[in-house]
């Protein structure tokens, strides 16, 4: 077993965990069941690749610095999310879910069709990676892992802070009892669309560039619905609505499903290996939902401590925004 392979798996796991953590904010706390996250990541990834790409390649890029590419991706995905969210958020429940699903597919099809900007099905083969010249080829996977880890920790800190903040509590309150939250003076539609756009922007800033660095090349077939469902599975396994759950779930799922590649097999059994990832995703989804619907760490466990702290603090606070305890509703 080679160490560099483990490093690669860990990097991918961290990329997915960022996706799961951000999905957790909008879906579990915000109650917006989004099946379009692959589309948002796709837009971010292509924006990043185009902004930072070399101007003389098959798909001409703008050759901007990496940070500019990340910020550009954040802005573009934020705008696209707002455009999607504004109509989609007028719908609730399964209709929101279908709309986001359809939007993601439209975005992917547009990427396939607009060959002049995206390279079509052939894709984009050269992407700019941070510090690629500074380190040797052998050392680079470790640099990548470190960088992704830093990004993942930042996302984790942001999401946790958001979850504990008044904003996060309001979001969950709006999910649990929309009428009550509205009567308390919360503008439900404003808080939902801002969350949806912010999650989109963070997808563009963190998840998309990290995924591009990991992949090294972009083709539209990466961003099919199975990417969305893989990120969702990480979230469901870890625990919908918990703070550390999505991080843990995505790590468990990715490491579990990639480890199979270590098994040496003859070429005729290769298709069985390639079937293992979807099989594991499917079985974990079915099993966790059946026997442990709260996930590894449930929302209730995750918020018990902060609720206790909040209760002692609420004596001095002007409004008590503590959401009802009957959460964990999928």
């Amino acid at each position: 077993m080679s160490v560099s392979f483990l490093v690669t798996i860990a990097t991918l796991a961290l990329v997915f965990s960022m996706g799961s953590m951000l999905l957790n904010v909008e879906s579990s706390w915000g109650g917006m069941w989004d099946l379009g996250i692959a589309g948002q990541i796709a837009v971010g990834a292509y924006t990043y690749a185009l902004l930072t790409g070399p101007p003389d390649s098959a798909v001409p890029g703008f050759d901007l610095p990496i940070l500019a590419g990340m910020i550009g991706a954040a802005v573009v995905v934020g705008v696209v999310s707002t455009v999607i969210g504004w109509p989609a958020l007028r719908l609730r429940g399964e209709y929101f879910l279908i709309t986001t699903f359809a939007f993601a597919e439209i975005l992917r099809q547009l990427i396939v069709i607009r060959k002049d900007v995206t390279g079509g099905t052939f894709g984009i083969t050269s992407v700019k990676k941070p510090f690629a010249e500074t380190f040797t080829f052998e050392a680079y996977p470790y640099v990548m892992l470190g960088l992704t880890l830093v990004l993942a920790l930042v996302v984790w800190a942001l999401c946790t802070r958001l979850g504990n903040s008044a904003y996060g509590l309001t979001l969950r309150a709006a999910r649990d009892n929309e009428a009550l939250a509205q009567s308390m003076g919360t503008s439900i539609s404003a808080i939902r669309i801002s969350t949806y756009a912010a999650v989109g922007a963070m997808c563009g800033f963190f998840v998309a560039p990290a995924y591009v660095w990991f992949l090294g090349a972009l083709v539209p077939s990466i961003f099919v619905s199975s990417l969305t469902f893989t990120i969702w599975t990480g979230l469901v396994i870890g625990g919908l609505g918990s703070k550390a759950g999505p991080l843990l779930g995505a790590l468990v799922l990715t490491i579990g499903s990639e480890m199979i590649r270590l098994v040496e097999v003859s070429p005729e059994h290769a298709q069985i290996i390639s079937a293992f990832h979807p099989l594991l995703v499917g079985l974990l989804l079915i099993g966790v939902l059946r026997w442990r619907p709260g996930g590894l760490i449930s929302e209730r466990t995750s918020f018990t401590r902060s609720r206790a702290r909040l209760a002692s603090a609420s004596a001095t606070s002007e409004t008590d925004r503590t959401p009802s305890a009957q959460t964990g509703s999928l």
């Binding site: 007028r90 719908l91 359809a102 597919e105 439209i106 079915i286």
Partner: protein, 286 residues
């Protein structure tokens, strides 16, 4: 005219598959994402079994097998999580979709397969030309849909299904055998998926991706039709098929799916209860 005919054929295949999806959505109240994989599985079994059994018996056996699989998965996987609501059932269905997809990759491989069926030479028929095989497919689709409609409107189990679809609790109180309805709906729905998948395979080719590529079209047709209404769903599927193929006259064919999903989103926004539904959907505003 020719495009309208192509659209009609594609739409009627979609209608067969979507009517199964809508049936399950109406009685069990969740979005069955694995429906697309049931289609793909039906198409694969039809091809694989054609060797030992011959083409037509293989198709029949395939439909029966998928139908049985639907009933079993309903009992084993979906009944135990019914209490937890539609979202858990939806993601259980996503899980099932992945498992079926994985098994298909492992067993059948990822290469493209085709049915050993000739549609025959196209003949000019007034303004359009049509192959004999396509006529057979259209007639088969019409037959399946008529059969489903007769079953729902004329038989006692059909009446029970409609009762459960319109008000599950009331139907239960009035003594409708809910379990029997659930089993029947699973069998019908999965069988229809397999028929749709086989027809799609006969018209084109079969790959393991067939399920994923079609589930969104099925969702679109089901929503456009107004999910509570089987006839509306069939009308919407036909309309969607025709619009997609006719749009090819105006813009590039690669925009076909985009046309379909744009229509879906517009309809959801303007008339969320669907094109052919007369009742407001409570969930939309709830």
């Amino acid at each position: 005219m020719q495009n309208i005919l192509f659209g009609l054929i594609a739409g009627s295949v979609l209608a067969v598959a979507t009517s199964g999806f809508a049936l399950l959505r109406n009685t069990e109240r969740f979005l069955h994402i694995a429906h697309g994989q049931f289609m793909a599985l039906g198409a694969f079994l039809g091809i694989v079994l054609a060797g030992p059994l011959g083409v037509v018996p293989a198709m029949v056996v395939s439909v029966l097998l998928v139908s049985a699989l639907g009933v079993v998965s309903g009992i084993v996987l979906f009944d135990p999580v019914k209490e937890q609501g539609a979202n858990v059932m939806l993601f259980t269905s996503v899980g099932l979709a992945f498992v079926i997809y994985a098994v298909m990759i492992a067993v059948f491989g990822t290469q493209l397969r085709v049915y050993d069926v000739q549609l025959g030479d196209a003949r000019d028929l007034g303004p359009v030309s049509i192959a004999p095989g396509e006529v057979v497919l259209l007639l088969l689709a019409a037959l399946v849909i008529t059969g489903l409609w007769l079953l729902l409107s004329r038989t006692s189990i059909g009446r029970d299904i409609r009762a459960v679809a319109s008000n599950r609790e009331l139907a239960q109180v009035r003594g409708v055998a809910i379990n029997r309805v659930t089993r029947t709906v699973w069998a019908l729905s999965s069988g229809l998926a397999a028929i749709g998948g086989i027809m799609m395979g006969v018209l084109g080719s079969v790959t393991t991706e067939l399920g994923w590529t079609n589930i969104l079209l099925i969702l679109a047709a089901a929503v456009l039709g107004g999910m509570g209404n089987i006839l509306g769903v069939i009308g919407a599927a036909l309309a969607l098929g025709i619009v997609m193929d006719v749009s090819a006259l105006v813009i590039d064919t690669s925009y076909r799916p985009i046309v379909a999903f744009t229509i879906l989103i517009l309809v959801l926004l303007v008339k969320p209860e669907g094109l052919f539904s007369f009742q407001k959907r409570r969930e939309v505003t709830a």
